[in-house]
């Protein structure tokens, strides 16, 4: 029982962090960023030395954790900001479909860039090996990593909330997410806010990369995509642009997946995801604007 709860929370953590990364950018730019998953993959690969050998040559991965974590977060933030400056800045006034396809094309470029440097074979990497040892809590044996995942996610969420609520930059970002044009008329610098959103979103991608990389112990070009699909859905169910909604929906999706895994009859278990997606459609039918409708539904001019 406790195990199930922890499974749900740790899976939900990944989805919630992913959804948050998408929702942050959607809030200020109305862009659904499909390249986010590839930013996650990039962060994991940044730990390795470029080589097409099957063996992973660990590079930054050998750093002690207090250097490793900032390094990966910075990688994500840096790449994400670079994407904004080089690509997305040119699409500020484009329609959402065009922006979406552009972000997909960008993700494609990042993915094949990694493929060129590292080949498409998944490689195994042991990241922070001390964390995979199980520990005992209330009589249940849980991997320490799972606990750390949950605690780290909570810390990130609390930190982000404080940042958004207490800082000047957070205030400007929330104002811009709700009504971009009005915020600009009050002197809020558009480029700064958008770049800030991209940096935060990229750092979140780095966090996911660390967690996911140490959980699975492999490095794979495709690894971003699997989380992204769910995170993307969580963003919409949560109410596009609503950060709280994205987090909530991320945890709900994680919980739904884990609970169905346990509750479904054995024959139906392989089809678990189909049930999850079915539930997604049902939620959308009853709440097309998402669980928590974002207020800033006004289109940008």
């Amino acid at each position: 029982m406790l195990q199930t709860l922890f499974d749900a929370l740790s899976l939900g953590s990944l989805y919630a962090l992913g959804a948050l990364g998408i929702a942050l950018i959607f809030g200020v730019m109305r862009l659904v960023n499909f390249a986010h998953g590839d930013v996650i993959a990039f962060c994991v690969f940044a730990l390795l030395w470029p080589s097409t050998d099957a063996m992973a040559i660990v590079f930054a991965g050998q750093l002690p954790w207090y250097l490793l974590v900032p390094f990966v977060l910075l990688c994500g933030a840096g790449l994400s900001v670079l994407c904004e400056i080089v690509v997305f800045r040119r699409f500020r006034n484009a329609n959402p479909a065009t922006m979406m396809i552009a972000s997909f094309a960008l993700g494609f470029v990042i993915r094949y860039f990694l493929l060129m440097l590292y080949s498409s074979r998944p490689k195994s990497i042991s990241l922070l090996p001390a964390l995979s040892q199980p520990i005992e809590i209330f009589g249940a044996r849980l991997p320490l990593l799972q606990l750390i995942t949950i605690v780290a996610t909570m810390a990130i969420l609390i930190g982000l909330t404080l940042f958004l609520r207490q800082t000047r930059f957070g205030l400007e970002m929330r104002a811009a997410a709700e009504n971009f044009s009005m915020a600009r008329m009050l002197g809020v610098r558009a480029n700064r806010v958008i770049m800030g959103a991209f940096a935060l979103s990229g750092a979140l991608a780095g966090a996911i990369a660390l967690i996911f990389g140490s959980q699975t112990g492999t490095v794979d070009i495709q690894m971003g995509a699997s989380i992204m699909l769910m995170a993307f859905i969580a963003t919409v169910i949560g109410g596009l642009g609503s950060l709280g909604g994205a987090v909530l929906a991320g945890f709900l999706l994680g919980a739904a997946s884990v609970v169905m895994q346990v509750a479904l009859p054995v024959d139906a278990r392989p089809f678990r995801d189909a049930f999850v997606y079915g539930a997604v459609i049902l939620v959308l039918l009853f709440r097309p604007q998402g669980l928590i409708a974002a207020r800033g539904t006004k289109e940008r001019v």
């Binding site: 000047r168 205030l171 400007e172 929330r174 104002a175 709700e178 009504n179 044009s181 009005m182 915020a183 600009r184 008329m185 009050l186 002197g187 809020v188 610098r189 558009a190 207020r295 800033g296 001019v301």
Partner: protein, 244 residues
């Protein structure tokens, strides 16, 4: 020297010309009403001054600087504070947060922080209702309270010019009276320069000041609101009798 100067401004939306070669200027401390029927191009003009709508031709100067084609945030930093049509409060932010959004333009040192605090106190003095609900969500305020909030929000940036688009829109007449009462008191007290767009010229005649009447994207009358208001010229201009 004039604070705001427009010369030959033309605004187009694809094939439709909303404003055609409009020129005017206003001096510091002036109240200028732009009035005219629906579709006269008043709001387009205001949005162009704020940098939200691009101009097709012409030049806009604010305090001697050319601001044509500048980003809205840069124009705001030069001293224009815009109160757009429909008020556009940040509904999910608290009232105090709404007031603080525009204060990011000032330097972040101790004196300017103290100044922000005193500005905030001043706005709360003028609109006590905002102080009572300072930590409440702005989206829950009534229309009249929201109008006061956005005027307060504009004041917080210490602007040289406040541009207000239809402050009476969607408000009951007695609430509109209250809003104007405060606005005019503020203007007298702080020597504000106000550029106000209103559909009806009645308010301008009541308040006084200068009035520009627009129709079909052009200025048809420009003069003192009280003297213009009494003449028949305004009726003709407003309804366009001379065309028929």
């Amino acid at each position: 020297m004039s604070l705001l100067a427009l010369s030959d401004i033309t605004i187009r939306y694809s094939r439709l010309t909303a404003v055609r070669e409009v020129s005017f200027s206003m001096t510091e401390g002036e109240i200028l009403f732009i009035t005219g029927p629906n579709g006269a191009g008043k709001s387009s003009l205001l949005r162009a001054i704020a940098g939200v709508t691009p101009v097709a031709a012409g030049k806009i100067q604010l305090a001697g600087q050319d601001i044509t084609g500048q980003a809205p945030e840069n124009i705001a930093r030069l001293g224009l504070s815009m109160v757009p049509e429909g008020r556009e409060v940040f509904g999910s932010l608290t009232i105090e947060e709404n007031l603080l959004v525009g204060t990011g333009m000032q330097a972040r040192d101790r004196t300017s922080r103290a100044r922000t605090a005193s500005d905030l106190e001043a706005v709360y003095m003028t609109f006590p209702i905002l102080k009572d609900r300072r930590n409440g969500q702005a989206g829950l305020l009534s229309g009249g309270q929201q109008q006061m909030l956005v005027i307060g929000r504009a004041l917080m940036t210490n602007p040289r010019l406040i541009a207000i688009d239809e402050p009476s829109l969607g408000l009951a007449p007695n609430i509109t009276d209250q809003v104007y009462e405060r606005l005019i008191a503020l203007q007298a007290q702080r020597q504000l320069t106000l550029l106000i767009v209103e559909q009806s010229s009645a308010r301008a005649m009541m308040v006084g000041g200068r009035m520009i009447l627009m129709r079909g994207g052009q200025i048809v009358l420009d003069g003192d609101a009280r003297t213009l208001g009494s003449g028949e010229a305004i009726q003709a201009a407003y309804f366009g009798y001379e065309d028929h």
